[in-house]
Amino acid sequence: MVRKIERDQNRFRQIVRGKIKADLKKYITHGEMIGKTGGELVSIPMPSIDLPEFRYGPKGSGGVGQGPGDVGQPIGRSGDGEEGAGQAGDSPGQHILEVELTMDELAEILGEELELPRIQPKGQANIIEEKDRYTGIRQAGPESLRHFKRTYKKALKRQIASNTYNPDDPIVIPVREDKLYRSWNPIYLPQTNAVVLYLMDVSGSMTDDQKEIVRIEAFWIDTWLRSQYDGVTTRYIIHDAGAKEVDEHTFYHTRESGGTRISSAYRLAHKIIEADHPPADWNIYVLHFSDGDNWGEDNRHCVELLRKGLLPKCNLFGYGQVESPYGSGEFIRELEDAFENEPNLALSEIRDKEGIYDSIKEFLGRGR
């Protein structure tokens, strides 16, 4: 029987979804749920879903409590939206509702709201990958795979059937034919893997504000790509005058003082792709963020590396230029001049946090 409450619960979730969708831009801009991800769930604070009513605010309010303490002693914070504690116990405390969404739901909302086309993975969707899972049982096998429970049961059955089981002395000893072993069955999975290479300029002109923008944007791009592929691998490259691969934490927390040579990162990215992610097997995303500062003569190398190396191999190459008070911001012009209507090249200028929304749309709106 469908429980009545399920209808109300679904309705509630639908409303929550609607609210998230309506406020998505705000959530994206403020990065409110980043850092709140635990496993598969995202927790989203939702202050406005409850029904309003005429009631008292905290100003001038008070109540009665019980217990020790001197006059003037603080007994509780009146956080935003919190009602006068201890209104003689008539009302449940008002709290900001935290709703939980799975990452998939979040991605779905993102896709709907940004009108993102679903990604068409490159041809490998038909490649079948073979995997082994231990789901079977066999009569023979190595002792290390012996299935104790099944073996015991079979021995017990045999003893009862042959009337050798004595309930007063319930010892069950398996003999050779009782023994059962785990075995594996091959499982065929379509392989739709993707790798995302994040490239970021960490030279002195990129400040924490810019990195914050990159982090928020990367979170949303990840969320979307993960919903589109079975497996997504992320790799991180930082660069100033030279490039190196780092882990995620280092990626967002490094600041160098040197100059900038973007081509070094492109070269490294290319090397990684060549070595680990042959384009025949992988859907490749390269996303590069910088403030647009580069050594003048390096721009030519970059264009060349893109044209010959990266673009032919990537599903998408995205360049996001984050506005910075220090950078010259010329790099994006160079790319605009050098390329015209490359289907898998997306360029986006991100002024401030407000710009993230459009930038994500620019990157992901191509459905590649």
Binding site: D8, Q9, E53, Y56, Q66, P74, S78, L97
Partner: protein
């Protein structure tokens, strides 16, 4: 119907327990409706709790929200419902399946306390005792409206009604304000010719039988009465839901939905009015029955653990169970020892008062009387004493606006009582009346708040006005105070305005426009 069913569902051990406890409860003088116990899993109990106790209630998303919060609170170990009791004849009570036997005993004894309270307390006298059926009817009607007019339309309308559902007059079930409108009564329209003010007389006697001064006086009175009749509403109206029901431009189904919301609000109101007494009474009886009759030696520690958990206090929160049971016990003790009446009140020797004992033995009788005739407000007003406050370490607290936290304000009896009564008056909600239903002769709605020094939560107030506007469809105004200054909040369908009222003419009009 899966949950409300027959007693066959009750396992034999609990059935036996029920018979035993019911017998004890009766022997103590408790007087209750038949009780139907139902044993549920936590999920099922959460579901029914989310629905306010009524498995057949109308569909609405907030029940789903409530359910998520309850079941999450349970999963994370933050809260647990032990039991639920529904004011109905027969009384329905839900038990949690995974409770230990000692808990089930405690809970059942507690349930009989509530059941007796529902049946006998004056505040519950006007409530519908067939609410289980009535709620099912409400559910069916609303579901059929949803089918006809669309789920979302009906639900949105319910949202607006719910924002206003605390705007009822909790005393009105006892006071007959006006006759229920009879749609077949046309006497008003038929009776058009005004009665003559003059007595019949011969011409030459006329100036004596009908002296001109007296005629003038009668005419003046009539005029005043007419003026009064033209006022709309005649008296400021606290039952705002009723006023809307009678005068807002609603369609038939909207009227019915609003009437349903109003009826349910009145049904639940007495529970808010008697929270301290009701929980105190039930706790008094579970503890009395457990400690004198029901408790097994082996259950003592678990009982003590759970009972003290229920009675626990924490700073900044008043536990109604604790306050209620302690105050009832205090009353019982005072009336047992004869510590009441003019003689006792006149005595001002501390030691004499402390050891005062006439052996009156009227305690039990007194608390039975108290449970019949009091609500929380009159209960606290009548029986809270300085001695009691001191023994219970009670204090009042207030909001420190700078530090944005609550702090202990005072341990003075007067202050404590004042704060407590304020928090209980009108469920701790602001008192708001409709002053004018034809404001500025433009059909606008004018509300006024009785101001006691505490400001409304402004954003909520404005959002609520928006919902009120949905029902009234003309501009709505609320006269209130912001930071102590008389202020008029208005919503005209698109914009919110905040305008200071009266005496502020030197300052330029401060307008805060919030776009809808």
């Amino acid at each position: 119907m899966s949950f409300v069913s027959t007693q066959h569902d009750l396992p034999a051990d609990l059935r036996a327990l029920q018979v035993e406890i019911e017998e004890h409860a009766r022997s103590f003088g408790l007087d209750f409706y038949d009780t139907i116990f139902e044993v549920l899993d936590y999920d099922e109990l959460s579901e029914i709790a989310a629905l306010g106790g009524f498995p057949t209630r109308y569909p609405h998303w907030r029940f789903g929200m409530e359910y998520e919060q309850l079941s999450k609170g349970y999963r994370y170990g933050l809260q647990k419902i032990y039991e639920m009791v529904i004011n109905n004849d027969p009384c329905y009570a839900y038990l949690l399946r995974c409770n230990m036997p000692v808990d089930q005993k405690l809970v059942m004894a507690h349930v009989y306390g509530h059941n007796d309270f529902f049946k006998n307390n004056i505040c519950f006298a006007p409530t519908n005792r067939k609410m289980m059926d009535e709620m099912a009817n409400h559910g069916n009607r609303i579901r059929s409206f949803m089918e006809r007019f669309g789920e979302e339309t009906v639900e949105n309308f319910i949202d607006s009604c719910l924002c206003l559902d605390s705007l009822i007059d909790i005393h009105s079930p006892f006071i007959k304000r006006r006759d229920a409108p009879n749609r077949y009564d046309f006497s008003n329209e038929a009776d058009q010719t005004p009665p003559s003010d003059k007595f019949r007389s011969k011409d030459y006697m006329d100036s004596f039988v009908n002296p001109p001064e007296a005629l003038k006086e009668v005419a003046r009175q009539r005029e005043a009465e007419n003026a009064k009749a033209r006022r709309f509403p005649e008296q400021p109206e606290r039952d705002i839901l009723l006023f809307l029901l009678e005068h807002a431009p609603l369609t038939a189904w909207q009227q019915d939905v609003l009437a349903i919301i109003r009826e349910e609000a009145y049904y639940f109101a007495p529970q808010g009015q008697t929270k301290i007494m009701n929980e105190g009474w039930a706790s008094y009886w579970h503890s009395t029955m457990m400690t004198t009759r029901l408790l097994d030696g082996s259950e003592l520690v678990d009982y003590a653990d759970h009972h003290s958990g229920t009675m626990a206090t924490q700073p900044g929160r008043l536990n109604p169970y604790k306050l209620g049971i302690e105050l009832l016990r205090d009353i019982e003790e005072r009336w047992d020892k004869g510590q009441f009446g003019p003689e006792y009140d006149a005595c001002d020797d501390y030691e004499t008062r402390r050891t005062w004992n006439t052996g009156a033995g009227l305690g039990r009788q007194k608390i039975f009387e108290v449970r019949r005739i009091h609500s929380d407000v009159t209960f606290i007003d009548t029986f809270l004493t300085p001695d009691f406050c001191r023994r219970q370490q009670m204090f009042s607290f207030r909001h420190n606006d700078q530090a944005e936290l609550y702090e202990i304000e005072s341990r003075e009896f007067k202050k404590i009582k004042e704060r407590l009564l304020f928090g209980l008056t009108n469920f701790g909600r602001p008192i708001i009346r409709i002053k004018d239903g034809n404001y500025r002769n433009r059909g606008e709605l004018y509300l006024e708040q009785e101001y006691f020094g505490v400001d409304l939560k402004l954003d909520h107030a404005q959002d609520t006005l928006r919902h009120l506007h949905r029902l009234w469809t003309r501009p709505v105004q609320l006269e209130t105070c912001v930071e102590g200054r008389p202020t008029l909040l208005s919503f005209d369908g698109t914009d919110h305005t905040i305008r200071p009222l009266g005496g502020q003419s030197h300052e330029p009009e401060h307008r805060d426009r919030r776009r809808a």
